[in-house]
Symmetry: C2
Subunit: 500 residues, 2 copies
């Protein structure tokens, strides 16, 4: 090691015994900063530790500890008998010589990211920062929110307590991708009995919600440029998932029978996947009859296409039995079936399921291992117990009543107050109600005016593919009636009447 | 509607009042099955409901309810005064006419998926199903597992109870992508103080573990074919994440200073991203000195490349202070910083964090909204409180002691019993210890023999890129010492000594 004449002037070092930070750390930080800023140049010799002890009035232990740490991290080098030097392996000018303070950084506003630095997926994301805030209590009439005020937190938290009382190190450890077998079995049993799903345990993948299920399916089966048949109007988040990954969206018209996969559509495209909500079309609310379902199944079987059945709120049908799902009719094993506990337990739980065709169980377990870690194991245990002990069944029955009542109040009140302006469509199911808007006002305008009055609704025309001309879009409002109490529904609709 | 002469023979209908299933459902199911199997053909007229009541000895209510449901779902059509028919919109031959029973499906083993039906990502996944089982208690010496037996479940579950006592409908609802602002703030504070990370609240993305962070970064910044500089040997799961998405892995040699990003490597490739574990290289355990860190930062700043700093177990350093992270030195904002609560809280929690450059916060919030739903809100609240009330700091200090003791016992015992066969390398840090194997046996063979004896270790040579010739790989074993008690460590190493 070359020795240099220069001995560093360490007058800039200011240690303060009254500070909370230990002196060792203060000394370490100041020398480190001086090196990074170029105040102390490479190969520069430091005063001896004895000199430092004197200059700084600290103990030898403090000096030695700080220097040792700086040596260990490569800032300093020490040579037996020749003292301690700033590492000569560092760049001559000091890495941050150009600025005056080590903590100065370019301002965020000045940072522009060049699109070429991102992937095709990344290039489609917004770069502009907006305000965010933690969400508050769901406002009327936010679609998709269940009656969380009616959730039996006492029962749930009792199970949580019980699980924590008997928790083992194994329960705290890493879980298997795809979810705990016990929960997968419970979900398979439930879906077979109540939804007509045909599956065994391994076909059930526990995911952290519908969105993850949609995303993983997209990644495993769709190539960029592949066509996806999509309901128009349809569930915007799902459309985004496909589109942002490079899929080409082919819109399917929705009529009283749901998505129309007719000959013209089939011939016009070579779609790889069809996305449908047959139990309760989102947002129009219609239920797909059997002949349409068979049409879709035949298309998939003949063209080796895939079906993605999003059964997001099928548990809630009022006055009729739930319609068995499409997946259970699929003898060619082309269907991915997606559901979530967000609407039947609570959204914050972040648990859902994806049923994959039998030949793809290993592939999806592996895919899930790559894209994320399984959802909280403890939550999986709690949910498993909630299902197994019959609480889930009871809760569902109660929620059907609660939601059914809220729907009735909503429909009655709306017909009475707004019957001339809004016409409810769709079946008696789910957590939302779509009403066509009969006025000169656009629904987007209505949404904005209502938002200004503190009422949250979604305009129907916003659910259409961007390629659909304005004139071809139905005008309407999508109301979530489930998260509002009857009193809130009445007050809310009174306001809607005022605004419209 | 055309009427047909034929009236269906419904002799095949068998209703059983002793079954648990309600008679309405039994009747609905049998007619539905008969239609799907082609026993009842399209346009075929059903007996009148009066006849059905007589034939089946059930109430008129039962018959009407079942038929109504079948009409609603599109299986039957009814015409005023002319009776009820099987829908003529169904395919003539019956959708499932080819088989004898509606519940018969092709056997899973017969299902082969054609690679062309999957995406490039999907084509790289295994299709062969293997046994899975829920994991048991972590075995010695499973790498990466903390001392879960020492986790303060009492403190944690007390907070869980408290959170559940005061839970509001807002807490049960959907959360914001990127995580709760309170938790993001707490994580930012912790990382600034303890890890030298430079970030504000919005740069913190709460993810469900390191794996999701790696995956999202890959998707947002890497195009298929992009080169990634990767530590060799290195963390296999991270390599998979890049490789399976089409990135080309460029190996970097690891020496005593960690990854070498030297001129030859830099010139040989146009890498877009470098993946490093500077605090504690995985699996070799070395710590990267400052000049190497600056080299990497300079490379990223000059070439507009990205750095992914995986700081997976940096909190655990025994006898030395933790080394500040690389991200805090990055004045060009090219670093993604990834960490996880798996090793400092517990893995089953499924929470981690990703610190993104300031210009990309909105893009990552949106990306996370697309790829998944936020981790359990309740768990986020519990963790936030655990950090805020000082439990996290206390827990970390205790765990440093516990893990430090286990490491000491492990090192002493190994040196004594196996000093001639195994030579420990790397710094005194983390949850694993890598030892070079001095024997004729390959490390893969040693791993297998140990597994047969109930001891879990990983062979070092398995961490290399597949392009690395066998002869160029170091032979060794990677031991996780943290999940075993001192007694288990002694017993375990006695067995290792026997086997080797």
């Amino acid at each position: 090691m070359r020795s240099r004449q220069s001995v560093a002037e360490l007058g800039f070092l200011r240690l303060d015994g009254r500070k909370k930070q230990p002196l060792v750390k203060q000394l370490y930080e100041s020398i480190r900063r001086a090196i990074l800023q170029g105040t102390l140049k490479p190969s520069c010799r430091l005063p001896s530790s004895r000199d430092l002890v004197e200059q700084l009035s600290v103990s030898r232990t403090t000096v030695v500890a700080a220097l040792d740490r700086l040596v260990a991290e490569g800032y300093l080098q020490s040579a037996q008998g020749r003292g301690t030097f700033v590492s000569r392996d560092l760049p001559e000018e000091g890495p941050f010589a150009e600025t005056t303070s080590g903590s100065e950084r370019p301002r965020t506003a000045d940072l522009t990211i060049d699109a070429a630095e991102l992937s095709p997926f990344g290039q489609q994301l917004e770069l502009e920062e907006r305000m965010v805030a933690d969400r508050g209590t769901p406002k009327p009439f936010c679609p998709g929110e269940p009656a969380l005020d009616a959730f039996p937190t006492d029962v749930w938290s009792r199970i949580v307590r019980k699980v924590w009382k008997t928790v083992s190190p194994a329960d705290l450890s890493y879980g298997e991708a795809g979810g705990q077998l016990g929960l997968r079995r419970a979900v398979a049993d439930y879906l077979r009995t109540h939804r007509g799903v045909e599956c065994d345990t391994r076909q059930v993948m526990i995911v952290n919600g519908t969105q993850q299920a949609l995303d993983v399916v997209t990644r495993v089966v769709l190539k960029p440029g592949d066509q996806v048949l999509f309901e128009n109007p349809g569930y915007t988040s799902a459309r985004q998932t496909f589109a942002k990954q490079g899929a080409q969206i082919v819109p399917m018209t929705i009529d009283a029978g749901g998505a129309k996969l007719d000959t013209s559509v089939r011939q016009a495209c070579k779609a790889r996947l069809v996305y449908v909500t047959p139990s309760h079309q989102y947002p129009l609310g219609v239920t797909m009859p059997i002949e349409r379902r068979l049409e879709i199944l035949n298309w998939a079987a003949r063209s080796s296409g895939w079906i993605l059945e999003d059964d997001y709120d099928s548990e809630y049908r009022y006055g009729q039995a739930p319609v068995p799902c499409l997946q259970g009719l699929d003898r060619a094993h082309r269907t991915f079936y997606v559901g979530s506990f967000s609407k039947v337990i609570f959204p914050a739980l972040g648990l859902g399921y994806l049923i994959v065709p039998p030949g793809l169980t290993a592939a999806f377990e592996q895919a899930l291992r790559i894209v994320s870690r399984p959802a909280s194991q403890i939550d999986q245990l709690v949910l498993m117990e909630f299902i197994r002990d019959g609480h889930f069944g009871r809760h569902l029955r109660r929620m059907r009543k609660t939601h059914g009542l809220r729907r009735r109040v909503f429909v009655e009140e709306l017909s009475e107050r707004l019957g001339k302006r809004l016409q409810i469509i769709g079946s008696q199911a789910g957590l939302h109600c779509t009403a066509l808007l009969k006025s000169k006002k656009t629904d987007i305008r209505a949404e904005q005016e209502l938002a200004a009055a503190g009422i949250l609704v979604r305009s129907l025309s916003a659910y259409y593919c961007s390629s659909t001309p304005r004139a071809k879009r139905q005008k309407g409002l999508v109301f979530g009636f489930a998260c509002a109490t009857p009193a809130q529904i009445r007050r809310g609709l009174a306001k809607v009447a005022e605004v419209l």
